[in-house]
Amino acid sequence: MEKEQYQQLEQNVTPKPPYLKNVAKAFFVGGLICAIGQAVSLFYIIFFNFTEATAGNPTVATMVFFAMLLTGLGLYKRIGQFAGAGSAVPVTGFGNAVISAAIEHRSEGLVLGVGGNLFKLAGSVVLFGVVSAFFVALIKYILVTIGVVSW
């Protein structure tokens, strides 16, 4: 069988992802995680005197803490299989990426294993976050300097 013919056969036989089901699951779980984040935010605002603006920081740290527990107990991967982007997109997903790599590479020691592999999965997020922030801010700065927009 020729290559093109085989690729056609493969297209016909391979099941497509269940788009609607996946979108629904991602929406539900992602929304739920954010709602939990909202509750955590309120908790910090009410009991610890944070404001709406500053509550974001301890909230994110708390969500990452939850991610550590779920990741370490082997539960996050089950949520991930169900929810897909619903668990990968919230900051808990970032935590899961870092923490799962850390746990995995403990067998190579704390320095070379954990230290060397910590950002194996999440590094691209940090890289592109920083680089895009740099260019966006730079462009904004130039536009402000030449008087097209204001801060």
Binding site: M1, K3, K77, G80, Q81, A85, S100, A101
Partner: protein, 331 residues
């Protein structure tokens, strides 16, 4: 060119040892042992992997009452970088050793080399097989074990199992290897490491076709043609290719895949099992035992392997695959 073994080396014993999750395999009743600790009480996954290989070899040797000192050659491999679990097991077994990498087709490529050495008269007893340990391999080829990635329906689960066959000079009461085909590295442009079945099916097709043609055989000359780990989808694709080539539908029932059947109908395992240990575990337990019991008289075992690395995938390469076959008969 097909290889004909005039002296018909025999599969004298098979030793198969598996991890806790493999208790859910429909073949587990044929295994020698299923352990409840995936690390075999060792500190790392890789050390557990090594221990598992040693236990499988011990199980095989015990069955005909030999020890490692009686074994002439140890052929084997796994999927870990530089195959260190197998290398370290060879160190502990102290048998002359050549490591082979045919990815998940290593079970048969090792057996072929062992048969060649036996045919040459250079070996009385050889150990040949392959193994895989789920954790060690997932973290190397895909993601850390606890990472929450969503696997598609085409994905396969790497088994934790080691299967080693004890191959020796011909004995009437044992399944014997009459012929073998060494496959090429075949690339049909598939590039998804979560859809290995599609990448491997063309290699299996080419090897099966070549073997049958060279041996002047048709599928119905066999009681069973068992591929290693195409998975449910890969098996469908292989059957599609065979049908397109003139094979009748009734003959297709003789074609089965160890990976597709490994965990039964459990959807949690998506398209089925894979890993170097998958074909080894099923070939060297279920098939040997069924042949000795008289269920099959002529079997073609076709182990399939995907010859990629995490690096090749990141560099945007496609996935070439291979398939090796041995033809086994029983009086």
């Amino acid at each position: 060119m097909v290889i004909i073994f005039q002296s018909k080396p025999s599969l004298l014993a098979g030793g198969v040892v598996a991890g806790p999750l493999e208790n859910r395999s429909i073949f587990s009743q044929y295994f020698d042992a299923v352990y409840d600790d995936e690390r075999w009480q060792m500190k790392t996954n890789e050390q557990g992997h090594r221990k598992m290989i040693e236990e499988a070899c011990d199980a095989a040797m015990k069955k005909i009452g030999v020890q490692s000192g009686d074994i002439d050659y140890f052929m084997g491999g796994d999927l870990v970088n530089q195959m260190t679990p197998t290398n370290f097991a060879a160190r502990d077994l102290e048998i002359p050793f050549i490591g082979l990498f045919s990815a998940c087709a290593t079970s048969v490529s090792s057996a072929i080399v062992a048969c060649l050495l036996t045919e040459l008269g250079a070996a009385n007893f050889s150990l040949a097989g392959a193994s895989s340990q789920h954790n060690a391999i997932e973290r190397q080829f895909r993601y850390p074990i606890n990472y929450g990635a969503q696997k598609p329906k085409t994905a396969q689960w790497t088994v934790t199992a080691a299967g080693y066959a004890l191959i020796g000079k011909h004995r009437e009461e044992y399944p014997s290897i009459e012929a073998a085909t060494i496959g090429k590295s075949v690339d049909y442009g598939m590039d998804d490491p979560f859809h290995m079945g599609a990448a491997m099916a063309p290699a299996a097709f080419q090897t099966i076709q070549s073997h049958l043609q060279q041996r002047n055989q048709k599928i119905y000359h066999y009681d069973l043609i068992l591929t290693g780990d195409l998975g449910q989808l890969g098996l469908k694709l292989l059957k599609g290719m065979l049908v397109e080539n003139g094979v009748k539908n009734e003959e297709l029932t003789l074609l089965r895949d160890a990976g597709a059947e490994f965990y039964g109908q459990d959807e949690a395992f998506q398209s089925g099992a894979s890993g170097a240990g998958c074909s080894a575990a099923v070939f060297f337990s279920y098939v040997i035992q069924q042949m000795r019991a008289g269920s099959y008289k002529r079997v073609l075992l076709v182990a399939t392997g995907a010859l990629l690395s995490p690096l090749s995938y990141q560099q945007g390469e496609t996935i070439p695959c291979t398939a090796h076959a041995i033809e086994i008969t029983m009086k």
